[in-house]
Amino acid sequence: MLKNLRIADLSNHTSLKPTEIKNPEYFHKVVDCQYACPAHTPVPEYIRLIAAERYTEAYMVNWESNVFPGVLGRTCDRPCEPACRRGRVEEEPVAICRLKRVAADNKGDVKAFMPQGPFASNGKRIALIGGGPAALTVARDLAPLGYQIDLYDDQDRGGGMMRSQIPSFRLPENVLNEEVNFILDLGIHTHFKTRVDSLRGVLDKGYDAVFVGTGAPKGKDLADLPGRWDSSGNIHIGIEWLASVAFEHTQKIGKKVLVLGGGNTAMDCCRTSRRLGGEEVKVVVRSPRKEMKASPWEIEDALHEDIPIFENHVPKAFVTENGKLVGMTFEKVEPKYENSRRKLVPTGEPLVFFEADDVLIAIGQENSFPWIERDLGLEFNEWGLPALNETTFQSTVPNVFFGGDAALGPKNVITAVAQGHQAAVSIDLYCNQQSLTERPSPYTNLISQKMGIHEWIYDSDVTTDIRYKVPHADKSLTLKDRKKEVELGFSQDTGFKEAQRCLNCDVQTVFSESRCIECDACVDICPTTCITFTTNGEEEDLRTRLNAPANDTSQDLYVSDSLKTGRVMIKDENVCLHCGLCAERCPTSAWDMQKYLYSVTKAGNQCGILQELTT
């Protein structure tokens, strides 16, 4: 025993317990991008496949998890990117979203890898109300299990808000059509141009379960603002106007356009206006620019198309002359912060007037269920949303399930997909008379990576790789044609380079106490000083006395069991770069790099594609 290390008397302390790496959620959390993704797509797995030019497989890994890789590779809100570990080494995370598009652009023929119908019927019938991302996900998950799926939508094609609200210059129609058709081709019974006016009517048809994925179809208005109804022909609700453009009912707009609102819908409205004849398009937001809800890259693209953004302007009135809209007045405000609450206080300056031929109101959207009878036993909460179990997505009518924006309020496509998967799991359990709360556990796998003598000579440099920019089509072309896609996507070469920026966080550092001889080799070699051997103690105290203090408490410490000297190994998951140097330096393989695969289990325990491709 190492006497001069003076093992602390542990009896008075609450020491950290050894980390339970057998709990599937522990290593899952270490894969920050995947953990942050609502659908938990195995990001590093498909990025490696892209680097290996295995685009088909990369696409299928995505398809199984997020159903719309081509759509999401262009339009995802990218919760994965702020979480990306590369962002802790450099400023910019890996361009995960755009890599997804590389997989989609180069996927080749993927149909052979998809479930092949016709599927033997299981005798159950499911109705899907709405044809957006959530309902299509349910359709894809359930059809191969033998369910008869009836899909109802009032549009003439599937896709929901992906078609009606996302402009073609961000998402070309053929990309959307292809991915919608992959699902419809699984033998879905589509009832397009069929508006559902009564849930009772659907229930009366004797379906085993009904899924509601009708989105958040109602755009918020400024109904009480003075002048709102004086020239309403030139005042439009953002999402309705976008849908009208998408279905080619609207072909042009005035030269001077005001867009109210700071979300992604506002960005889509202003950029679409520029393509339909808007020459002076302005975005006006109530709050400070930094509080705008739009994704930073959407704002950037709007600015690039010569659309100025005016912050801290609260709309006061629509101004009409001779029955024609001429503009709007705004009150200038400034944010004041009191007790962490923000108030917009008028500056006292005179009202600002902006000229306008048309105004687009894009200040948010709401749910709307006028077609659901209130005497069905289906309860609604105080926000007008259905009362749901947030895990099972089951409503208070046992065979009615919700998903997407219709379930918990407006979010985004990837959240709708994630909820669709869960609703499908619930519907499948429900139809088999099983408990909905006993959810199937995720499919996980932990595979040791080979480390041979040739890996002894290595390079510890974690290279600083700057994020590659996605090329854009020239503004002079894209502004003339609203269907011309702005982003061109990475070439295969750039995609490879960007893929190389991934730190492979899913290759885990797995530590076995019994093998460790405490030689310190890993401590010396670690480029980020994230490994410490010390006496155990309380977490708060331990975090300060590691070789490099671990200040980010949202990230875990990996703690070993007691070693021979009585000390423990502690690794700060926050700064580990998964470079593998600890494992390569370790003389006894106490450190082993093991690839961790985590896949959310889909309805009927399907995880075939991923399992086949990655083991």
């Binding site: 001069n4 001889i517 330096r585 006894t588």
Partner: protein, 338 residues
């Protein structure tokens, strides 16, 4: 990246990636050297690192990449260090050697550097075997230690600290590569010491001498280690804040004003007593203990430059008028010999 007081990050004190066996004790010692130099905020260009031949002597490539380096002939590092030190006394001399390089081929060089009290830190990365030629017993292998091939060493091992004490060394310490809490302050104190500082570091050869029966394996050293005191190094400008019962601590002030702070002393131990150190080493050997820590220090040490009264400036800064002071001075010198 945190920086030290002169603006360098720890990475600025590192070298290239080691090509030694994974788990080699030498890499930990390199790590301790990096840590000590970083914490002491030594300007890398003020250090000259020197070595001979062997696994140990490869290590200067793995630390202090921004310092001066000299990889000498086998066992001749002390001589090269003597020459360099005589020519430029302003640099900090850090010699790294192994048990073969020091206790066999280089023994003649080693002992003379000690008796001249050359101002340098001499680290022996001691693994008791010739790792580079597949693990034959070296001169520091203990009698009775079993090699990886199963042969028992029949010869008496050379105890380097004991020998250094005998030769009049002014700073003698022993440590273990697997204990940086002790090794780092020892290196810092040794770098501040004016005169010859020897640190004999037990550094297990993970490939050829980490087997059962070896007296220099990780397990054996951990089981038999006995520290004389906990050591702390306190730079000149800082105050000692922790207080212990009198008689359990000793503070030794070094010539540059820094302090070696020893606490929880083994029964009234005084590291300034050379004879006590020698007795203690012998007793530990009889007991089968590996005594570590600062064994002996002479805070009033006079280094070679002081003894021979050499010029206080490095040779490269001497001008022609310094070197050829003219016939009047020559006459004065000649007058001395009359």
């Amino acid at each position: 990246m945190p920086k030290n007081t002169i603006g360098y990050a720890k990475a600025d004190y590192e070298g290239v990636i080691s090509t030694l066996c994974a788990g080699c004790g030498h890499d930990s010692i390199s790590g301790a050297i990096v840590q000590a130099c970083y914490e002491m905020a030594i300007e890398p260009h003020r250090v000259a690192k020197l070595s001979g031949i062997g696994c140990s002597s490869k290590t200067p490539n793995y630390f202090l990449n921004n310092s001066h380096g000299f990889n000498s002939v086998h066992g001749r590092m002390p001589s090269v260090a003597t020459g360099a030190n005589m020519a430029n006394r302003d640099l900090i001399y850090l010699g790294v050697s192994g048990d073969g390089d020091t206790a066999s081929i280089g023994m003649g060089q080693f002992v003379h550097a000690i008796r001249r009290n050359l101002n340098m830190l001499y680290i022996v990365m001691n693994n008791g075997c010739y790792g580079l030629t597949k693990g034959q017993d070296s001169a520091t292998a203990d009698q009775g230690s079993v090699s990886k091939s199963g042969s028992v060493n029949p010869f008496e091992g050379i105890d380097l600290p004991g020998m250094a004490l005998e030769l009049g060394a002014t700073f003698v310490a022993r440590s273990f590569s697997g204990d940086k809490t002790q090794l780092v302050p020892l290196i810092k104190a040794a770098l501040s010491h004016k005169g010859f500082a020897l640190i004999d570091v037990m550094s297990p050869c993970v490939t050829f001498n980490n087997n059962a029966g070896s007296t220099k394996s990780y397990d054996y050293v951990r089981d038999h280690i006995e520290a004389l005191a906990e050591i702390g190094f306190v730079p000149e400008k800082e105050e000692i804040t922790v207080s212990y019962e009198t008689g359990t601590t000793v503070d030794v002030e070094l010539h540059d004003g820094s302090v070696v702070h020893l606490q929880k002393l083994a029964d009234g131990w005084d590291p300034r007593d050379r004879q006590a150190a020698m007795r203690r080493l012998q007793a530990a050997k009889t007991e089968g203990e590996i005594l570590t820590g600062l064994l002996y220090i002479d805070p009033n040490s006079k280094d070679l430059h002081e003894v021979i009264k050499s010029d206080s400036r490095p040779l490269n800064s001497l001008k022609e008028e310094d070197l050829c002071p003219g016939s009047a001075i020559l006459d004065l010198i000649n007058e001395d010999f009359r």
